[in-house]
């Protein structure tokens, strides 16, 4: 059950700064826990950024991205009220999706 993301989209003219905070362990699969057992890899692999249903960014990321990922993107040609949707899919098949309107 994935935690919701926090998206902040700030319009400056027709450029939009997007900041998204995600909750995810981004476990590398190379770490051992306090009992000495290897913590299995668990990380986001794919993510998409869509504006009004159209994909504008596709990201492939790896376990090298830090725990609780924070991304910043820049969109152009958007206006207030446009729908921004960010989604991710991890290596275990878990997904998360959050929508917000550009303010």
């Amino acid at each position: 059950m994935a935690e919701p993301m926090k998206i902040r989209a700030t319009l400056k003219g027709d450029l939009c700064d997007v900041r998204v905070l995600m909750v995810h362990p981004m476990e590398t699969g190379l770490r051992k826990d306090t009992n000495g057992a290897v913590v299995p890899a668990h990380f986001i692999q794919e993510m998409t950024v869509k504006v009004n249903g159209r994909t504008v960014i596709e990201g492939q990321i790896s376990q090298a991205v830090s725990r609780n990922p924070v991304f910043s993107f820049r969109l152009n040609g958007v206006k207030a009220g446009d729908k921004l949707e960010i989604a991710w899919l991890d290596n275990k098949g878990e997904r998360s999706q959050t929508e917000t309107a550009i303010a």
Binding site: E3, K6, R19, L21, V23, P25, R67, V70
Partner: protein, 265 residues
């Protein structure tokens, strides 16, 4: 001041002036950049939810908790802590006050509530998320820990005494590391917290998200962990001692605009 040999070695690392200045600038750049892309806000959101959640035998939320500015008033509340509370007849920092509200308002058992006050990367504690939320609502507010009430003055004096008191198997005090300006442990600059100039930026940025452990950490945790690092016995959560040291630091930092929750290594 007698120090274990190993620490003397560390303190003796002398970089030529220009290189040291460049390193300092780059580290400041690191600190700025991580503060700008920090997961800290996620904990503030979790804290907000928890603040409003009915819990305990009385099944009430913490929303009527008085942090010093009136029941449920959160804006600016963190900045004026620690302070004296008449209903408890004690000086309290945020976490001590939250514990008070959990036990009195919500009817929760103290032992049970304090069992996990410091969380893990997978599961932050209630104190951690609540602290992040409440502290965030003091952004921009000048730090104003209480100084006029007699018990507040006593807490400051006790905190100062504890800050300089050497004990434990290594004969350390807080001042062993934080007593002199311009000192460093490895790449970590050590603020001389007895002086306002150094206390201000520190108190203004706790609680903080620690990137090295992916955890939101609070001032009570900082006290606990410093004591651990000095090989002292573990201080009790929300004890007079921890509140006193936090008071000492917070009063030293008075006037600084609060800008947490912070993000630190």
């Amino acid at each position: 001041m007698r120090l274990p040999a190993v620490f003397l070695l560390v303190f003796l690392f002398a970089a030529p002036g220009a290189f040291a200045q460049d390193s300092k600038k780059e580290i400041e750049k690191y600190q700025r950049m991580i503060a700008d892309s920090s997961p800290a806000e996620l904990f503030e959101l979790q804290g907000e939810e928890l603040w409003k959640k009915p819990q305990g035998p009385r099944k009430v939320s913490l929303e009527r908790c008085d942090l010093g500015l009136g029941a449920g008033v959160l804006k600016g509340a963190y900045a004026q802590l620690p302070r004296y509370f008449k209903d408890a007849d004690r000086v309290m920092d945020l976490e001590t006050r939250l514990l008070f509200c959990m036990t009195t308002l919500q009817g929760r058992d103290r032992a049970e509530t304090t069992r996990t006050v410091f969380g893990t990367a997978d599961k932050p504690s209630e104190m951690e998320v609540l602290s992040a939320y409440i502290a965030g609502l003091s952004r921009g507010v000048k730090l104003a820990a209480g100084t006029t009430q007699p018990k507040e003055k006593q807490a400051y004096a006790l905190g100062k005494q504890l800050f300089f008191h050497r004990a434990g198997p290594w004969d350390f005090s807080c001042a062993s590391c934080h007593g002199e300006a311009g000192k460093r442990i490895r790449m970590q600059e050590l603020p001389a917290l007895g002086k306002p100039e150094y206390a201000r930026p520190v108190v203004a940025t706790w609680p903080a998200y620690r990137v090295s452990t992916s955890e939101m950490r609070t001032m009570q945790w900082r006290m606990n962990d410093c004591y651990r690092q000095m090989r002292y016995p573990e201080p009790e959560f929300a004890s007079d001692a921890t509140v006193a040291i936090i008071t000492f630091l917070s009063v030293n930092a008075r006037g600084e605009p609060y800008r947490g929750p912070g993000t630190k290594r």
